[in-house]
């Protein structure tokens, strides 16, 4: 296990802290297919960590392991220094790991504000009876959480569509609402599954800016998956590269860019 206090300073001078999450020798199989083969890496506090790789490399599977949607056959997940027992996805979320989905999983029938408020569910502690009868802390809690949700909405510049049902929004905005919902949970670790998939250049630039701002403003630790190399290299502090379920590279964007295995995986190599 890595030293918790050990950290590093990024090129732009941000201090990166200790290990928040560590994946140790993770292997995930679906029947006979090994989606992830013996992969280890860590995610440190305050950093933007990317997992990249060609299609089918096992990136999304890895994210699903972190968020508890898949259970690996082998290996151990360490969260905040201690081994994490097997958990349901909702328990992982309650522990402070928020995520977005590649294909957007929003509550289509609800307004943007309601969607963001669902992100606050883990923060609301009053029980069923207090909530039903609206006594005790229920009202105060609703107000406080509403304020926080509004703050996130302002931050991501979606005030204008606060009351709009999500189903009516265009794709790019939906992605942003999903980010808002995840952020509303004040996560210790934010997982973004292809945040820029299917976006045009302008939307990609917006999203990149938001990801950087989130990290800067809230100090949120972010792990993201992306296959657009250019975007990833600009955004992230450290990069894990996967190919066919194996880890073929891990390091700063520059290190990864010059890694021969990575170049082969992306550009193809002749086998002779």
């Amino acid at each position: 296990m890595l030293d918790q206090t050990e950290g590093y300073t990024t090129e732009d001078g941000r201090k990166i802290g200790g290990v928040v999450m560590e994946m140790k020798n993770i292997t995930l199989r679906f029947g006979g297919v090994e989606a992830i083969k013996d992969i280890s890496f860590d995610i440190r506090e305050g950093e933007i960590r990317a997992i990249i790789g060609p299609n089918g490399a096992g990136k999304s599977s890895m994210l699903n392991v972190i968020s508890g949607f898949y259970v690996p056959q082998e290996g151990q997940v360490f969260y905040k220094g201690s081994p994490r027992p097997q958990m349901k996805p909702y328990q992982v979320a309650q522990q402070g790991i928020a995520r977005t989905f590649q294909n957007i999983a929003l509550f289509e029938g609800m307004s943007v504000l309601d969607n963001v408020m669902t992100g606050r569910l883990t923060k609301m502690k009053t029980g069923l009876w207090a909530q039903s009868l609206w006594f005790g802390k229920a009202e105060q809690e609703e107000t406080e959480n509403r304020e926080f949700a509004e703050k996130i909405i302002d931050f991501l510049e979606i005030q204008a569509i606060r009351k709009t049902p999500v189903a009516r929004l265009p794709y790019g905005l939906k992605k942003r609402v999903e980010l808002a919902r995840a952020l509303a949970a004040e996560p210790s670790l934010l997982l973004l599954d292809e945040p820029m998939a299917g976006m045009n250049v302008e939307e990609k630039e917006d999203m990149s800016r938001f990801i950087l701002d989130v990290n800067d403003e809230f100090g949120t630790t972010i792990a993201l998956i992306e296959h657009d190399m250019g975007v990833v290299m600009d955004l992230s502090d450290r990069v894990v590269v996967m190919d066919y379920g194996k880890k073929i590279g891990d390091g700063t964007p520059d290190e990864v860019r010059n890694n021969q295995d990575v170049i082969d995986a992306y550009l193809g190599v002749s086998h002779d």
Partner: protein
């Protein structure tokens, strides 16, 4: 023809009252269907079971008395006490919550992600099981449930309308109470869903399971919650129908009337269930009065609702308020 008009208005009002009860049963279906995609065939039997349990608790019946007597050779039937209606209702709510937990724990936990038809079959099994358990627990004789609701003709309405039309309306007090209770119940449910944390989680689960998990909502908890709410709605429906026509097996058949109501209102809409219930209630009474009895030889109430549902299936399959069925190619 002021008399004819007065008759029609009376029939209309009585239809509304009957519709409220249809709506109550339909509401139980919608709650479960929205949150879990399960069409709960057992909703009617749940109403029956709730009413039987309430009667049993109020009158101090010993549960499973016949079974106990048969095994141990004893002869006990009653504890010998009577519990006030209010306390008995609270206890029955407890029983319905326990039932919700058991249904989730022992049946649907193992069927997560199965085909809708399999879930549906499971609820048919549940319906028969619950009916049997209900009989075994409380006996199968017809009971008159009296929780102290006012019954009989409402004199005030009778006299007022007599002054207006020269003909007094017959409106049952029980129907008025039922309508008021139903309105309060629906308002409470809507407020619960809109303004509480658990209500928000419930709507989240109804919308998207995966997304709900990702914001930390336990599907299991929400499913127990909606089955409990459906059990509560079933209890209210059971009390009303039980007071009106006795607690007996036919109570579970009113669930079938909820089917056309749902086809009209849409399976996923709470307002739809209510409006659908009212339309069916009013529709079948008016149709019987204006067309059925004079021209078709009567007894149209039995099939009118289904005819209407059939028309809806042809022309508007998603119902009045249901989510639109859009197929993208």
């Amino acid at each position: 023809m002021p008399e004819q008009l007065a008759f029609t208005i009376e029939v209309f009002l009585n239809g509304l009252m009957a519709g409220v009860l249809y709506a109550l049963v339909a509401l139980g279906f919608v709650l479960i269907y929205k949150a879990s995609g399960i069409f709960n065939f057992a909703q009617g039997v749940m109403a029956l079971f709730a009413a039987m349990t309430l009667y049993g608790i109020m009158n101090g019946q010993v549960p499973f008395a016949h079974l106990i007597n048969a095994i141990f050779g004893t002869d006990i039937h009653y504890f010998g006490w009577n519990i006030p209606a209010f306390a008995a209702i609270l206890l029955t709510i407890g029983v319905m919550v326990l039932l919700a937990w058991m249904v989730q724990r022992f049946i649907f936990r193992y069927l997560v992600g199965q085909e809708p038809i399999i879930l549906f079959m499971a609820t048919i099994g549940l319906a028969y099981f619950l009916e049997g358990v209900g009989d075994l627990m409380w006996g199968s004789d017809i009971k008159t449930l009296d929780v102290g609701l006012p019954q009989g003709i409402n004199i005030a309405i009778d006299e007022t309308t007599y002054g207006w039309f020269g003909y007094g309306f017959f409106i049952d007090n029980l129907d008025i109470v039922a309508s008021v209770v139903a309105i309060i119940l629906v308002a409470a449910l809507v407020m619960f869903a809109q303004y509480t944390k658990q209500g928000r989680a419930m709507r989240a689960v109804a919308d998207d399971h995966q997304a709900a998990l990702s914001v930390g909502v336990s599907l299991n908890f929400i499913w127990i919650l909606v089955w409990s709410l459906a059990g509560f709605v079933a209890l209210v429906a059971g009390i009303m129908w039980g007071a009106k026509s006795g607690v007996q097996f036919s109570l579970s058949l009113i669930a079938l009337k909820a089917l056309p109501v749902l086809m009209l209102g849409g399976f996923t809409s709470i307002p739809g269930a209510i409006i659908g219930g009212l339309i069916i209630g009013v529709g079948e009474k008016l149709f019987e009065f204006l067309i059925g009895a004079p021209y078709l030889g009567g007894a149209t109430e039995n099939w009118f609702a289904y005819m209407l549902a059939l028309l809806f299936l042809v022309f508007r399959p998603q119902g009045l308020f249901g989510e639109k069925i859009i197929e993208r190619v």
